[in-house]
Protein backbone atom coordinates (compact mmCIF):
# COMPACT_ATOMS: atom_id res chain seq x y z
CA UNK A 1 0.00 0.00 0.00
CA UNK A 2 1.23 3.48 -0.85
CA UNK A 3 -0.18 6.97 -0.35
CA UNK A 4 -1.05 8.86 -3.52
CA UNK A 5 -1.53 12.63 -3.72
CA UNK A 6 -4.02 14.41 -5.95
CA UNK A 7 -2.10 17.63 -6.54
CA UNK A 8 -5.17 19.23 -8.07
CA UNK A 9 -6.91 18.95 -4.70
CA UNK A 10 -3.99 19.49 -2.30
CA UNK A 11 -3.98 22.95 -0.64
CA UNK A 12 -0.34 22.60 0.52
CA UNK A 13 -1.51 23.26 4.08
CA UNK A 14 1.04 20.96 5.70
CA UNK A 15 -1.58 19.40 7.97
CA UNK A 16 -0.57 15.87 7.02
CA UNK A 17 3.09 16.73 7.61
CA UNK A 18 2.50 17.79 11.21
CA UNK A 19 0.12 14.88 11.87
CA UNK A 20 2.30 12.07 10.50
CA UNK A 21 3.40 9.79 13.36
CA UNK A 22 6.48 8.72 11.37
CA UNK A 23 7.56 12.20 10.23
CA UNK A 24 7.50 10.64 6.78
CA UNK A 25 6.01 13.55 4.80
CA UNK A 26 7.80 16.66 3.56
CA UNK A 27 6.05 19.61 1.96
CA UNK A 28 8.37 21.03 -0.64
CA UNK A 29 6.40 24.20 -1.36
CA UNK A 30 3.65 22.71 -3.50
CA UNK A 31 4.80 19.12 -3.64
CA UNK A 32 4.24 16.49 -0.94
CA UNK A 33 7.05 13.98 -0.68
CA UNK A 34 6.74 10.71 1.24
CA UNK A 35 9.94 9.07 2.48
CA UNK A 36 10.53 5.40 3.19
CA UNK A 37 9.51 5.78 6.84
CA UNK A 38 5.87 5.84 5.66
CA UNK A 39 4.12 2.67 6.81
CA UNK A 40 0.81 3.54 5.10
CA UNK A 41 -1.01 3.94 8.42
CA UNK A 42 -3.60 6.07 6.60
CA UNK A 43 -3.82 8.84 9.16
CA UNK A 44 -3.10 11.53 6.56
CA UNK A 45 -5.75 10.07 4.23
CA UNK A 46 -8.34 10.16 7.00
CA UNK A 47 -7.75 13.75 8.08
CA UNK A 48 -6.90 15.69 4.91
CA UNK A 49 -9.49 18.50 4.88
CA UNK A 50 -10.05 18.15 1.12
CA UNK A 51 -9.50 14.40 0.56
CA UNK A 52 -6.38 15.00 -1.53
CA UNK A 53 -4.76 11.77 -0.36
CA UNK A 54 -5.68 8.16 -0.99
CA UNK A 55 -4.21 4.76 -0.36
CA UNK A 56 -3.69 2.20 -3.08
Amino acid sequence: MTILVDFYKCLHCGGCVGSCPKNAIYLNDFVLEFNDKCNSCGRCVKICPVAALRME
Binding site: L11, H12, C13, G14, G15, V17, G18, S19, C20, P21, N23, Y26, L27, N28, D29, R43, V45, K46, I47, C48, P49, V50, A51, L53, R54
Partner: protein
Protein backbone atom coordinates in the same frame (compact mmCIF):
# COMPACT_ATOMS: atom_id res chain seq x y z
CA UNK B 1 28.47 23.09 -0.15
CA UNK B 2 27.92 26.58 1.14
CA UNK B 3 28.00 26.86 4.91
CA UNK B 4 26.95 29.71 7.18
CA UNK B 5 27.87 30.40 10.78
CA UNK B 6 25.75 32.45 13.16
CA UNK B 7 24.72 32.64 16.79
CA UNK B 8 21.05 31.71 16.35
CA UNK B 9 19.27 30.06 13.42
CA UNK B 10 15.50 30.28 13.34
CA UNK B 11 13.40 27.99 11.15
CA UNK B 12 10.23 29.74 10.00
CA UNK B 13 9.38 33.42 9.52
CA UNK B 14 5.91 33.33 11.06
CA UNK B 15 5.06 35.46 14.09
CA UNK B 16 6.97 33.18 16.50
CA UNK B 17 10.14 33.07 14.41
CA UNK B 18 10.17 36.78 13.63
CA UNK B 19 9.58 37.77 17.26
CA UNK B 20 12.40 35.48 18.40
CA UNK B 21 14.63 36.92 15.68
CA UNK B 22 13.86 40.50 16.66
CA UNK B 23 14.76 39.99 20.30
CA UNK B 24 17.89 37.99 19.47
CA UNK B 25 19.08 40.61 16.98
CA UNK B 26 18.29 43.49 19.35
CA UNK B 27 20.57 41.82 21.89
CA UNK B 28 23.36 41.86 19.30
CA UNK B 29 23.23 38.19 18.35
CA UNK B 30 24.07 37.18 14.81
CA UNK B 31 20.66 35.83 13.79
CA UNK B 32 19.46 34.07 10.63
CA UNK B 33 15.81 33.25 9.91
CA UNK B 34 15.07 30.84 7.11
CA UNK B 35 11.68 30.74 5.41
CA UNK B 36 10.58 27.92 3.15
CA UNK B 37 7.95 29.86 1.26
CA UNK B 38 8.41 32.38 -1.52
CA UNK B 39 6.47 35.02 0.39
CA UNK B 40 6.24 35.66 4.11
CA UNK B 41 2.66 35.28 5.33
CA UNK B 42 1.38 33.61 2.17
CA UNK B 43 -0.25 31.32 1.30
CA UNK B 44 -2.51 31.94 4.27
CA UNK B 45 -3.06 29.23 6.88
CA UNK B 46 -5.14 31.15 9.36
CA UNK B 47 -8.63 32.45 10.25
CA UNK B 48 -7.00 35.78 11.19
CA UNK B 49 -9.07 36.55 14.30
CA UNK B 50 -7.12 37.78 17.33
CA UNK B 51 -7.87 39.45 20.65
CA UNK B 52 -6.36 42.86 21.37
CA UNK B 53 -4.82 42.84 24.81
CA UNK B 54 -1.70 40.80 24.17
CA UNK B 55 -0.29 43.08 21.45
CA UNK B 56 0.96 45.58 24.01
CA UNK B 57 2.41 42.77 26.12
CA UNK B 58 4.71 41.71 23.26
CA UNK B 59 5.50 45.27 22.15
CA UNK B 60 3.52 45.34 18.92
CA UNK B 61 1.72 48.62 18.18
CA UNK B 62 -1.60 48.09 16.34
CA UNK B 63 -1.16 49.25 12.74
CA UNK B 64 -4.06 49.91 10.33
CA UNK B 65 -1.83 48.45 7.63
CA UNK B 66 -2.46 44.92 8.93
CA UNK B 67 -5.76 45.35 10.78
CA UNK B 68 -8.46 44.36 8.34
CA UNK B 69 -11.47 44.85 10.63
CA UNK B 70 -12.10 46.00 14.19
CA UNK B 71 -14.77 43.89 15.87
CA UNK B 72 -17.61 45.20 18.06
CA UNK B 73 -18.10 41.77 19.54
CA UNK B 74 -18.75 38.12 18.89
CA UNK B 75 -21.74 35.85 18.49
CA UNK B 76 -21.87 32.19 19.49
CA UNK B 77 -24.62 30.23 17.71
CA UNK B 78 -25.98 26.89 18.95
CA UNK B 79 -27.20 23.98 16.77
CA UNK B 80 -30.86 25.12 17.00
CA UNK B 81 -29.97 28.74 16.35
CA UNK B 82 -29.88 30.13 19.89
CA UNK B 83 -27.33 32.92 20.02
CA UNK B 84 -25.18 34.49 22.65
CA UNK B 85 -23.91 37.92 21.72
CA UNK B 86 -20.85 39.41 23.35
CA UNK B 87 -20.42 43.12 22.94
CA UNK B 88 -17.08 44.83 23.25
CA UNK B 89 -17.91 46.36 26.64
CA UNK B 90 -18.41 42.84 28.00
CA UNK B 91 -16.30 40.86 25.63
CA UNK B 92 -13.10 41.32 27.55
CA UNK B 93 -10.05 39.80 26.01
CA UNK B 94 -11.74 37.34 23.67
CA UNK B 95 -12.77 39.79 20.94
CA UNK B 96 -10.60 41.97 18.84
CA UNK B 97 -9.29 42.36 15.33
CA UNK B 98 -9.43 40.43 12.11
CA UNK B 99 -5.95 40.69 10.61
CA UNK B 100 -4.39 40.66 7.18
CA UNK B 101 -1.93 37.96 8.11
CA UNK B 102 0.17 38.32 4.97
CA UNK B 103 0.85 41.93 5.98
CA UNK B 104 1.07 41.26 9.72
CA UNK B 105 3.69 38.56 9.24
CA UNK B 106 5.70 40.79 6.91
CA UNK B 107 5.56 43.63 9.44
CA UNK B 108 7.01 41.39 12.15
CA UNK B 109 9.69 40.06 9.78
CA UNK B 110 10.54 43.65 8.86
CA UNK B 111 10.93 44.50 12.56
CA UNK B 112 13.31 41.56 12.89
CA UNK B 113 15.28 42.72 9.84
CA UNK B 114 15.39 46.30 11.18
CA UNK B 115 16.85 44.89 14.40
CA UNK B 116 19.60 43.24 12.34
CA UNK B 117 18.35 39.72 11.68
CA UNK B 118 19.16 38.18 8.30
CA UNK B 119 16.30 36.54 6.39
CA UNK B 120 16.82 33.79 3.82
CA UNK B 121 13.74 33.22 1.69
CA UNK B 122 12.87 30.02 -0.13
CA UNK B 123 15.15 28.17 2.22
CA UNK B 124 13.70 25.04 3.77
CA UNK B 125 15.16 23.05 6.61
CA UNK B 126 15.63 19.37 5.76
CA UNK B 127 17.34 18.06 8.90
CA UNK B 128 19.37 19.03 11.94
CA UNK B 129 23.15 18.61 12.17
CA UNK B 130 24.73 16.83 15.12
CA UNK B 131 28.44 16.71 15.90
CA UNK B 132 29.54 14.23 18.56
CA UNK B 133 25.88 14.06 19.58
CA UNK B 134 25.53 17.81 20.04
CA UNK B 135 23.02 19.82 18.02
CA UNK B 136 25.17 22.30 16.07
CA UNK B 137 22.92 23.54 13.27
CA UNK B 138 20.60 22.67 10.42
CA UNK B 139 20.72 21.37 6.88
CA UNK B 140 18.60 23.25 4.38
CA UNK B 141 17.90 23.80 0.74
CA UNK B 142 18.21 27.43 -0.29
CA UNK B 143 16.88 28.28 -3.75
CA UNK B 144 17.36 24.61 -4.51
CA UNK B 145 20.98 24.44 -3.35
CA UNK B 146 21.91 22.35 -0.30
CA UNK B 147 23.44 24.47 2.49
CA UNK B 148 24.39 24.06 6.14
CA UNK B 149 23.86 26.67 8.84
CA UNK B 150 25.83 26.29 12.06
CA UNK B 151 24.59 28.03 15.20
CA UNK B 152 24.81 27.94 18.99
CA UNK B 153 21.06 27.40 19.20
CA UNK B 154 18.29 26.37 16.80
CA UNK B 155 14.83 27.93 17.19
CA UNK B 156 12.11 25.65 15.81
CA UNK B 157 9.38 28.01 14.63
CA UNK B 158 8.12 25.78 11.83
CA UNK B 159 4.47 25.93 12.79
CA UNK B 160 2.03 23.03 12.74
CA UNK B 161 4.39 20.94 10.59
CA UNK B 162 6.80 20.93 13.55
CA UNK B 163 9.47 18.76 11.93
CA UNK B 164 12.61 20.44 13.27
CA UNK B 165 11.90 19.31 16.83
CA UNK B 166 11.25 15.78 15.59
CA UNK B 167 14.48 15.67 13.61
CA UNK B 168 16.11 16.71 16.88
CA UNK B 169 14.42 13.85 18.71
CA UNK B 170 11.41 15.50 20.38
CA UNK B 171 8.03 13.98 19.53
CA UNK B 172 5.51 16.66 18.58
CA UNK B 173 2.68 14.79 16.82
CA UNK B 174 -0.68 15.37 18.56
CA UNK B 175 -3.22 12.63 19.23
CA UNK B 176 -6.22 12.45 16.90
CA UNK B 177 -8.53 14.05 19.47
CA UNK B 178 -6.03 16.91 19.76
CA UNK B 179 -6.01 17.81 16.06
CA UNK B 180 -8.58 19.99 14.32
CA UNK B 181 -8.50 19.73 10.55
CA UNK B 182 -9.61 22.95 8.87
CA UNK B 183 -10.67 24.53 5.63
CA UNK B 184 -11.62 28.12 5.03
CA UNK B 185 -13.02 30.16 2.18
CA UNK B 186 -12.51 33.86 1.87
CA UNK B 187 -15.99 34.71 0.65
CA UNK B 188 -17.30 37.88 -0.95
CA UNK B 189 -20.82 39.05 -1.81
CA UNK B 190 -22.24 37.82 1.49
CA UNK B 191 -24.72 39.46 3.88
CA UNK B 192 -23.24 38.97 7.33
CA UNK B 193 -22.97 41.49 10.16
CA UNK B 194 -19.51 42.99 9.59
CA UNK B 195 -19.22 44.03 13.26
CA UNK B 196 -19.26 40.58 14.82
CA UNK B 197 -17.15 37.45 14.65
CA UNK B 198 -19.48 34.47 14.64
CA UNK B 199 -18.80 31.01 16.04
CA UNK B 200 -21.23 28.18 15.23
CA UNK B 201 -21.13 24.95 17.21
CA UNK B 202 -22.95 21.64 16.90
CA UNK B 203 -22.35 17.98 16.24
CA UNK B 204 -23.83 18.11 12.73
CA UNK B 205 -22.19 21.45 11.95
CA UNK B 206 -18.58 20.97 13.02
CA UNK B 207 -18.02 17.71 14.95
CA UNK B 208 -15.59 18.35 17.80
CA UNK B 209 -14.75 21.84 16.54
CA UNK B 210 -16.57 24.91 15.33
CA UNK B 211 -17.42 26.89 12.24
CA UNK B 212 -16.43 30.53 12.02
CA UNK B 213 -17.38 33.67 10.13
CA UNK B 214 -14.77 36.38 10.62
CA UNK B 215 -15.65 39.62 8.78
CA UNK B 216 -13.05 41.05 6.41
CA UNK B 217 -14.95 44.17 5.33
CA UNK B 218 -16.67 44.96 2.02
CA UNK B 219 -19.29 42.21 2.37
CA UNK B 220 -16.59 39.60 2.69
CA UNK B 221 -15.44 37.26 5.44
CA UNK B 222 -13.29 34.28 6.29
CA UNK B 223 -15.79 31.44 6.48
CA UNK B 224 -14.11 28.33 7.80
CA UNK B 225 -14.41 25.19 9.83
CA UNK B 226 -12.35 23.00 12.11
CA UNK B 227 -13.38 19.38 12.66
CA UNK B 228 -11.75 17.14 15.27
CA UNK B 229 -9.56 14.66 13.37
CA UNK B 230 -10.81 11.79 15.51
CA UNK B 231 -14.38 12.53 14.44
CA UNK B 232 -13.66 12.60 10.69
CA UNK B 233 -15.57 9.67 9.23
CA UNK B 234 -14.68 10.19 5.58
CA UNK B 235 -11.71 11.86 3.88
CA UNK B 236 -12.58 15.48 3.14
CA UNK B 237 -15.16 15.80 5.95
CA UNK B 238 -14.16 19.41 6.78
CA UNK B 239 -14.94 20.52 3.23
CA UNK B 240 -18.16 18.51 3.24
CA UNK B 241 -19.41 20.18 6.43
CA UNK B 242 -18.37 23.67 5.33
CA UNK B 243 -20.05 23.35 1.93
CA UNK B 244 -23.19 21.98 3.61
CA UNK B 245 -23.37 24.94 6.00
CA UNK B 246 -22.83 27.51 3.26
CA UNK B 247 -25.52 25.94 1.08
CA UNK B 248 -28.01 26.15 3.94
CA UNK B 249 -27.26 29.68 5.14
CA UNK B 250 -29.27 32.48 3.50
CA UNK B 251 -26.54 35.03 4.17
CA UNK B 252 -23.91 33.05 2.29
CA UNK B 253 -25.81 31.47 -0.58
CA UNK B 254 -24.80 34.11 -3.13
CA UNK B 255 -21.24 34.22 -1.86
CA UNK B 256 -18.26 33.78 -4.13
CA UNK B 257 -14.97 32.32 -3.01
CA UNK B 258 -11.81 34.41 -3.46
CA UNK B 259 -9.38 32.11 -1.68
CA UNK B 260 -9.33 28.53 -0.38
CA UNK B 261 -7.19 27.85 2.67
CA UNK B 262 -6.35 24.57 4.39
CA UNK B 263 -4.65 23.92 7.67
CA UNK B 264 -4.59 22.06 10.92
CA UNK B 265 -4.28 23.13 14.52
CA UNK B 266 -3.29 21.23 17.61
CA UNK B 267 -5.69 21.42 20.55
CA UNK B 268 -3.46 19.78 23.17
CA UNK B 269 -1.89 21.47 26.20
CA UNK B 270 1.59 22.08 24.71
CA UNK B 271 4.70 19.91 24.64
CA UNK B 272 5.98 18.41 27.89
CA UNK B 273 9.31 19.99 27.04
CA UNK B 274 9.73 22.87 24.57
CA UNK B 275 13.52 22.94 24.98
CA UNK B 276 16.49 20.65 24.64
CA UNK B 277 20.23 21.23 24.51
CA UNK B 278 20.76 23.93 21.83
CA UNK B 279 17.07 23.90 20.84
CA UNK B 280 14.02 26.04 21.61
CA UNK B 281 10.58 25.30 20.17
CA UNK B 282 8.08 28.18 19.90
CA UNK B 283 4.42 28.72 18.99
CA UNK B 284 2.46 26.13 17.01
CA UNK B 285 5.58 24.00 16.65
CA UNK B 286 5.56 23.57 20.46
CA UNK B 287 1.78 22.98 20.32
CA UNK B 288 1.30 26.11 22.43
CA UNK B 289 -2.19 27.09 21.28
CA UNK B 290 -5.52 27.81 22.93
CA UNK B 291 -7.26 24.41 22.61
CA UNK B 292 -10.75 25.95 22.68
CA UNK B 293 -10.35 28.61 20.00
CA UNK B 294 -7.40 27.15 18.11
CA UNK B 295 -5.90 30.63 18.25
CA UNK B 296 -2.11 30.66 18.38
CA UNK B 297 -0.81 34.01 17.12
CA UNK B 298 -0.53 35.59 20.56
CA UNK B 299 1.05 32.41 21.93
CA UNK B 300 3.58 32.38 19.09
CA UNK B 301 4.44 36.05 19.65
CA UNK B 302 4.83 35.57 23.39
CA UNK B 303 6.94 32.41 23.11
CA UNK B 304 9.04 34.01 20.36
CA UNK B 305 9.70 37.01 22.58
CA UNK B 306 10.53 34.82 25.59
CA UNK B 307 12.88 32.71 23.45
CA UNK B 308 14.70 35.80 22.18
CA UNK B 309 15.14 37.22 25.68
CA UNK B 310 16.35 33.94 27.14
CA UNK B 311 18.75 33.34 24.24
CA UNK B 312 20.27 36.79 24.83
CA UNK B 313 20.99 35.76 28.43
CA UNK B 314 22.34 32.40 27.33
CA UNK B 315 24.69 34.11 24.88
CA UNK B 316 26.15 36.19 27.71
CA UNK B 317 26.84 33.00 29.66
CA UNK B 318 27.85 31.07 26.52
CA UNK B 319 25.61 28.24 27.68
CA UNK B 320 22.72 26.97 25.54
CA UNK B 321 22.14 23.70 27.38
CA UNK B 322 18.63 22.58 28.27
CA UNK B 323 19.32 23.69 31.85
CA UNK B 324 20.37 27.14 30.67
CA UNK B 325 17.21 27.43 28.53
CA UNK B 326 14.98 26.57 31.47
CA UNK B 327 13.90 30.20 32.06
CA UNK B 328 12.10 29.94 28.69
CA UNK B 329 10.02 27.00 29.91
CA UNK B 330 9.25 28.86 33.10
CA UNK B 331 8.21 32.04 31.30
CA UNK B 332 5.74 30.47 28.91
CA UNK B 333 4.35 28.06 31.49
CA UNK B 334 3.89 30.78 34.13
CA UNK B 335 2.08 32.97 31.62
CA UNK B 336 -0.03 30.45 29.71
CA UNK B 337 0.07 26.84 30.89
CA UNK B 338 -2.84 26.86 33.40
CA UNK B 339 -5.20 28.53 30.95
CA UNK B 340 -4.18 26.23 28.09
CA UNK B 341 -4.63 23.17 30.29
CA UNK B 342 -8.02 24.37 31.52
CA UNK B 343 -9.21 25.07 27.98
CA UNK B 344 -7.92 21.69 26.84
CA UNK B 345 -10.02 19.96 29.53
CA UNK B 346 -13.01 22.12 28.59
CA UNK B 347 -12.56 21.22 24.91
CA UNK B 348 -12.50 17.53 25.74
CA UNK B 349 -15.73 17.87 27.75
CA UNK B 350 -17.56 20.11 25.27
CA UNK B 351 -16.80 17.55 22.57
CA UNK B 352 -18.87 14.98 24.49
CA UNK B 353 -22.04 17.12 24.70
CA UNK B 354 -25.09 16.39 22.58
CA UNK B 355 -26.77 19.19 20.64
CA UNK B 356 -29.62 19.60 23.17
CA UNK B 357 -27.13 20.26 25.94
CA UNK B 358 -25.21 22.73 23.76
CA UNK B 359 -28.51 24.56 23.08
CA UNK B 360 -29.15 24.62 26.83
CA UNK B 361 -25.67 25.96 27.57
CA UNK B 362 -26.04 28.80 25.09
CA UNK B 363 -29.46 29.65 26.57
CA UNK B 364 -27.99 29.64 30.08
CA UNK B 365 -25.04 31.87 29.32
CA UNK B 366 -27.14 34.27 27.25
CA UNK B 367 -29.48 34.83 30.22
CA UNK B 368 -26.80 34.97 32.93
CA UNK B 369 -25.16 38.12 34.15
CA UNK B 370 -21.58 37.23 33.37
CA UNK B 371 -19.79 40.56 33.68
CA UNK B 372 -16.70 40.52 31.52
CA UNK B 373 -17.11 37.65 29.11
CA UNK B 374 -14.16 35.34 28.65
CA UNK B 375 -13.70 31.59 28.61
CA UNK B 376 -13.03 31.64 32.36
CA UNK B 377 -16.27 33.42 33.26
CA UNK B 378 -18.29 31.30 30.83
CA UNK B 379 -16.97 28.13 32.42
CA UNK B 380 -17.88 29.54 35.84
CA UNK B 381 -21.53 29.90 34.79
CA UNK B 382 -21.49 26.46 33.18
CA UNK B 383 -20.01 25.03 36.39
CA UNK B 384 -23.08 26.23 38.34
CA UNK B 385 -25.66 24.78 35.95
CA UNK B 386 -23.83 21.82 34.42
CA UNK B 387 -21.16 20.78 36.93
CA UNK B 388 -20.53 17.58 34.93
CA UNK B 389 -19.06 19.62 32.08
CA UNK B 390 -16.23 20.89 34.23
CA UNK B 391 -15.71 17.72 36.28
CA UNK B 392 -12.03 17.06 36.83
CA UNK B 393 -10.77 20.59 36.38
CA UNK B 394 -13.04 22.52 38.76
CA UNK B 395 -10.01 23.69 40.67
CA UNK B 396 -8.79 25.62 37.62
CA UNK B 397 -12.04 27.59 37.44
Amino acid sequence: MKTYNCDIVIVGAGPGGSMAAKFCAQAGLDTIIIEKKAEIGAPLRCAEGVSKKWLEEVGIAPDPAWICADMAGAVIRSPSGYTFQLDESKAGSEVGYVLERHLFDKALARDAADAGAKIMMRTSCTDVIRKDGKLVGIKAKSMGEPIEIYADCVVAADGYESQVARWAGIETVPKMNDIDTCIQYRMSNIDIDQQYCEFVIGNDIAPGGYLWLFPKGNRSANVGIGVMAKRCKNPGDPKYYLDKFIAGDERLKNGQILEVVGGMVSTCPGLDSATDDNLIIVGDAARIIDPITGGGICHACRTGMYAGKVLADCANKKDFSKAALKPYEKMWRDRMEDKIYRNWMAKERLNELDDDTIDDLIKIISTSDIGEVNVYNLLKVIKEKYPKVVEGFEDLI
